[in-house]
């Protein structure tokens, strides 16, 4: 399996090297949204005397910089590509090879992040200086961040696949994933740090999976939560990864049966 992954990795790196400009554009595009929110919160905070809840202007900057990084590291776009593969029969040759189709996506996802992370880091350092971001990060936070962001990426990837697999039943995965994205917009910590959501919404955000993908690892990296709280939140991440792993296996099996029943 390691050799298979290595071969897939080499092929994918080669393929993506042909789209360097596209990689750069995607990366810049992914930073725009957090920067807009950052600018908005900075304006609001300044209007209210520089502080909202426990966040001041420099905390907001650090939060959104961490969020951009996490967002890049956990991005999953399988739903869109998978729908295309099912609709145009490109899944069929993959199903007829002795390798689960998910492995191609894992490698593709990994390579894409690998190619974006360096230019993104440069941009984030620049933003960090511009907004004078204040990180409360300790070495413990960095240590916890690594497994946390891996869990977040796994959660994002698996939930993306569960959504994508609905392509077996409906050719309108797009609308399903749009709904999902809208929910994530509120509950993942994009529109505001989870700690600033109104009480009921904040409670809900801790139950739903969205926050565990973005907000949680971002706060851990920023040093916005204590290490013990971080561990608790990571337990939540692990539970959701487990849930989506089981869900994926079931939905996939049923989906392939459906695919092979109605016309591959």
């Amino acid at each position: 399996m390691i050799r298979t992954y290595r071969a897939l990795l080499v092929a994918q790196l080669q393929a993506s090297s042909q789209y360097r400009v596209q990689v750069l554009l995607w990366m810049l595009f992914s930073v725009i949204r957090p920067v807009i929110f950052l600018a908005a919160w900075v304006a609001v905070a300044n209007a209210q005397g520089g502080q909202i809840g426990t966040y001041d202007v420099r905390d907001f900057a650090a939060y959104y910089i961490c969020l951009s990084l996490v967002s890049c590291l956990t991005a999953s776009w399988n739903a869109y590509e998978f729908e295309y593969e099912v609709r145009f029969g490109r899944l069929s040759p993959k199903l007829l090879r002795p390798l689960h189709p998910i492995h191609y996506a894992v490698v593709e996802n990994f390579v894409s992040k690998l190619t974006q992370i360096v230019p993104l880091s440069i941009v984030l350092v620049f933003i960090s200086i511009t907004f004078d971001a204040r990180f409360r990060t300790t070495p413990a936070h960095v240590l916890l961040f690594v497994p946390s962001v891996v869990l977040a990426a796994a959660l994002s990837f698996l939930s993306g696949w569960v959504l994508a697999t609905t392509a077996f039943w409906t050719t309108r995965v797009h609308s399903v994933s749009t709904f999902w994205d809208r929910a994530a917009f509120i509950f993942a910590g994009q529109i505001a740090p989870l700690a600033l959501l109104p009480g009921p919404l904040q409670a809900l955000s801790l139950v739903l999976p969205f926050g565990y993908v973005l907000g949680v690892p971002a706060e851990i990296l920023r040093g916005g939560v204590s290490p013990s709280t971080a561990l608790l939140l990571m337990a939540g991440q692990a539970i959701w990864v487990g849930v989506f792993f089981v869900a994926f296996q079931r939905v996939w099996r049923a989906g392939v049966r459906q695919y092979s029943a109605v016309g591959a």
């Binding site: 298979t4 071969a7 080499v10 092929a11 069929s92 993959k94 007829l96 002795p98 092979s260």
Partner: protein
């Protein structure tokens, strides 16, 4: 419902004498949604949809021995591709049994996938942005092909398909014909024992078609792989297949030697007479058979198979010295096939 065949599940390589493909009463019914055109019908379809069952494959039975190259013929929508998809494991049948190399295809066991390939002329399985040589490497790892075997297979396919310059260019820069050759190499890189080829020459020009044909024949000769192929081009079938299976509307119409197809399915012969002086007798030709064409100095007749020898003799006798040449032949294979599909015939098995 689907039956699995316990005795066929064993993970063993078949002996050379074993049947490679065995299909029994295989059926596939698709449920499709139907809707009339127009606004009212569209609105109604939001509430209630009319569903209809379509029998894509309506119970077919056949078997294929090791090393055979079998042509699978039928018009569009006959059920050819559906059958190939069931045999390769992409589709679950609605009913019936199939076993390929001793495996139930739609279980898609890795051991089966290692030994089988499905090549579709209108689908691509290569990565567009990288040279095929790199895709081959990925396939080597997926199929766990030992380095030595991989090299010799690649060399052999490169030689047979003349791939030298093609495998190092990104696939998207190849022409359709070039890409098809590379697709063939990718599909056969794991040396499958069974190859299902669905319209392998579709869209290719004549010379590329014949090159692919030569390749398939040579590949079969060298490796002894069993091949089942569908094609709209009768030339493919004539060049490659001694045996053909004809299906129409999901049913098997003919299974037997290509050479006997005409005899079974088209009960007539074509007599062509050429005359010395260029003058075609204007009368009485109808008494020999149906006149198909009448050119200057040449007349073509369609005559019932049984009476063909007698009519020919009479024609030779009657035309006497004026006759320069005469031939008695089976009708062209396209014509036979066309006749089969346009008329309702009952199953004929050779």
């Amino acid at each position: 419902m689907m039956h699995s065949h316990a005795s066929h599940n064993a993970v063993i390589m078949p002996r050379m004498t074993d049947v490679v493909v065995e299909v029994r009463e295989l059926r596939k019914t698709f449920r499709v949604t139907e809707r009339e055109e127009g606004l009212a019908a569209t609105l109604r379809s939001f509430v209630r949809r009319h569903r209809k069952d379509v029998n894509a494959v309506a119970g077919i039975t056949f078997r294929i021995d090791p090393g055979e190259v079998v042509g699978f013929l039928g018009p569009n929508g006959a059920g050819k591709t559906t059958t190939l998809k069931m045999l390769s494991g992409l589709l679950h049948p609605s009913e019936g049994e199939a076993s390929v190399l001793g495996y139930v295809p739609w279980k898609r066991e890795n051991a089966y996938l290692q030994r089988m390939t499905l090549l579709m002329g209108n689908r691509t399985q290569l990565v567009w942005d990288i040279p095929a040589a790199d895709s081959f490497r990925v396939l080597q790892e997926i199929y766990r092909i030992p380095e030595e075997q991989f090299r010799s297979t690649v060399n052999e396919l490169t030689e047979l398909l003349e791939l030298q310059d093609l495998v190092h260019k990104p696939v998207r820069n190849l022409s359709l014909g070039e890409r098809m050759k590379v697709e063939f190499a990718a599909g056969l890189i794991h040396s499958p024992r069974v190859a299902f080829l669905d319209e392998p020459t579709i869209g290719l020009d004549i010379s590329m078609q014949s090159r692919i044909r030569r390749f398939v024949a040579e590949y079969n000769r060298r490796t002894g792989a069993t091949i089942l192929l569908t094609s709209h081009y009768m030339d493919d079938v004539v060049a490659l297949c001694k045996r053909v299976i004809v299906i129409h509307r999901g049913r098997l119409l003919y299974d037997g030697p290509l050479a006997d197809l005409a005899e079974r399915m088209a009960p007539y012969k074509i007599i062509t007479a050429t005359l010395h002086d260029g003058a075609v007798p204007s009368t009485d030709l109808d008494s020999y058979g149906t006149v198909v064409s009448r050119d200057e100095g040449r007349v073509t007749l369609r005559v019932d198979r049984q009476v063909a020898p007698e009519r020919t003799a009479r024609l030779v006798n009657d035309l006497g010295d004026r006759l320069a040449d005469i031939s008695v032949e089976d009708p062209p294979i396209e014509e036979v096939i066309d006749r089969v599909f346009t008329s309702e015939q009952t199953t004929v098995s050779a």
